[in-house]
Symmetry: C14
């Protein structure tokens, strides 16, 4: 196998696995927080604005870890310095 094949191959695999694996935990964590938020609203309807606001700030923070993975996946597909080196060489 030549360099082009190797670098291309691992780039595709890595990009896919990075976003696939990287989306597991955020989805589970958000599901858990969301479930608990609904319980909290049912227990204290009067506090629903505070709960909802805290929920969405927290979800954004959790979502950030998924976005790190999405960014790295896109870098590997479209701005990959190793690919540029071998494909341009």
């Amino acid at each position: 196998m030549d360099s082009i094949s190797i670098i291309g191959m691992v780039s595709i695999i890595t990009a896919g696995i990075t976003i696939a694996v990287g989306s597991i935990a955020p989805a589970l964590g958000e599901g858990r927080a969301l479930a608990q938020a609904l319980t909290a609203i049912a227990q204290q309807p009067d506090e629903s604005p505070t709960i909802t606001r805290t929920l969405f700030v927290g979800l954004a923070m959790i979502e950030s870890t998924a976005i790190y993975c999405f960014v790295v996946a896109l870098i590997i597909i479209f701005a990959n310095p190793f690919w540029d080196f071998v494909a341009g060489g």
Copy 2:
């Protein structure tokens, strides 16, 4: 194996695995949140509009991680720069 075979092979495998693995956690997380929402409605029927609204916003957020994976899978199948390079070369 030549480059065409290698790049094609890993593209197919990666696309399939990305969406397959990437749909595990959103489905579980949504199932959990949905289950809790139904419990919350049963506990506080008067708050069902608030609960339902919070639920669907949260589900959309969780669904987004599945969509990241779906996007990457489609990019790998239909807009794959590595494949374009080797198939066009």
Copy 3:
């Protein structure tokens, strides 16, 4: 092994695994939500229309992740650009 064999082989494997793995989480998530819905109906029979409606909207959302996988599996079997390239080449 020539390109035809390789691309064909991985297409079959990937299509099968994608739908097999991709149906795990939706089935579990739907089972959980359904179970909780029945509990909720038993607790609040008067709210059963609201609960049932929320349940089916939520189930459709969860089912969507299984459908992403089904779509990708069928694309890989019947509209596979990599196969078209090597089989037509």
Copy 4:
């Protein structure tokens, strides 16, 4: 190994694994929902028609993911385009 052997081999393996793996989650999910339905009937005997009806609609929805896998397994065995290509070539 020639193409016939390879394509045949992976078709058999994939068909078996697809239905085997694909039947795990529906069976578990249905078992859970059924178990909860029986509990709900015991708690609210008066609601048993509603519970039973919701249960069977839900079970059908869960069963659908098993049927996706069964469909793909049969396609791979009896309507496999890759096999037709190599066996007819």
Copy 5:
């Protein structure tokens, strides 16, 4: 290895694994539903006809996933188109 050996080998392995793996979840799911049915009968002896009827309809539905696997296993052993092709070729 020639085609006969390969196709025969994977047919045997796949048939065994399909039914072995495919019987795990139905047995667990049925065990769970049965256990809950007995609890429900103990809680509401007056509802035992309804519970028993719902139980057996549900068990049949769960059993269906095991039967999908059994069908595929027998197809692979006794009506395998790939084997017929290579053994008759």
Copy 6:
């Protein structure tokens, strides 16, 4: 390795693994149902005939999945069409 060795080898391995793996879930499921039946009898001694009857019908249904595996294992050892083909060829 010749065909005889290969087919014989995988037949032995598959027969053993099929029954070994296939007996895991029935044993666990039956253990669970049995444990719950004993609890139910302790809670409602007056219902012990109904409970016991439901238990044994259910156990027979669960046992059926173990028997599918046992049947396939014996078919593979004593009525294996692939072995007959290569051993008689």
Copy 7:
């Protein structure tokens, strides 16, 4: 490796693994049922004959899955048709 070595080797491995794996679930299931039986006796000492009788019938049923494995293991060691074929050939 000649056929004798191969068939002998896999026979030994399979016999051991079959009984080793096959004894896991029955032992766990029996342990669970036994533990629950003791709890039930402690709760309802007056029902101990019924509980004990149901327990031993159930244990025998669970034990049967271990015995399937033991039977297959002994068949593989002492009445193995594949071994007889190659050792007698």
Copy 8:
């Protein structure tokens, strides 16, 4: 590797693994039953003879699965027909 080495090697490995794996579940199952027995004695000191008797009969039944494995391990070490064939050949 000649037949002697192969058969000897797998005999040793299999004997060790059989007893090692085969002792996991009985030990766990017995530990669970024993733990529950002590709880039951603490709850109903007056029933301790019945509990103790049921316990030891049950433990013996669980122990039997460990003994199946021990028997197979010793057969493989000291009465191995495959070894006798190759070592005597």
Copy 9:
């Protein structure tokens, strides 16, 4: 394979896996803390400022472990001393 291919290949794989694996635990940990925070707010609405403040300081601390991984991933992609050595050599 030459040094360029090897170093490039492992750099891509490692960068992707580092951020993918490294984002699992922070997302789960943050989801758990967030869920508990919402419960705490529902229990003690008067303490919501203290709870929210402690929550965000803690989330930042947990997020730091994800950032360690993100930093290492970017170093491996864009400031990799091993790549500079082989690509410049």
Copy 10:
């Protein structure tokens, strides 16, 4: 590799793994039973002689599975018929 190396190698590995794996479950099972015994003594100090006696008989029974493994490990190291055959041959 000659027979001496092979038989020696697998004997060492198997002996170590047998006792290592074989000590997992007894230690866990004994820990569980011991923990429950202490709880039982705290609940019913007057029954501590009965509890302690039952505990030690049960622990001895659980310990027996560890001893089976220890015996097999020592047989493999010091009384190994396969080693005696090849080392003496």
Copy 11:
């Protein structure tokens, strides 16, 4: 592969895996402690200074294990004696 490639390759892989694996447990442990701290504050608002102080000292202690991993990862990338030896040799 020459020494440069080998040492470089394993250095990159090890650095990434060390920090990725090493950040799992601290993030989970901190998430757990933080979640419990919020519960504690909600139970005893008057003790929130003590709880917060103990929390942050404990978090720092847990964080230290992540930092050990980060230090080792950076040593492997930037102060690697093995790399210096082979790259300078």
Copy 12:
């Protein structure tokens, strides 16, 4: 590889893994028993001598399984009959 290397290699690996794996379960089991003992003392301070005595006898019994592993590890390092054979041969 000659016999010396092989036997030496597996001896080192086995010794390390034996004690490493073999210390998992005793440590967990002892931790569990110790934790329960402290709970029991807190519940029944008057019984602390009985509890402590039973605890230490039980810990010694659990510790014995770790010591079996330690003994086997030291035998493999310092009194290894297979090593003596090949090193002295």
Copy 13:
């Protein structure tokens, strides 16, 4: 591969894995103890000095196992007798 490469390679890998794996359990254990300490303070604010003191002594003891791993990792990197032998030879 020559000795230098091999010894260097495994030293790097082992050092990283040792500290990465070795920091999992201490972080989890400390997180658990810390979480419980906060609960204990919330239950018994008057005992917070005793609880805090016991906590920190215990944390130091748990931390010691992480430090064993850190020590071994640093020995392998900077004071490795095997490396000194081959690099100096």
Copy 14:
């Protein structure tokens, strides 16, 4: 690979893995015991001397299993008879 490389390589790997794996369970077990001790102190402040004393004796016993692993790791690094044989030979 010559003997020096092999023995050195496995010594390094084994030493690292032994202490890494061997520190998992003690840390978890100690964390559990410590957590329970803090709960016990909060429940029975008057018994804190007894609890603390029992705790530290027990922790020392658990720590001993980590120390067995540490001892074996150091023996493998600094007093390895297999290394002395091949390095001195």
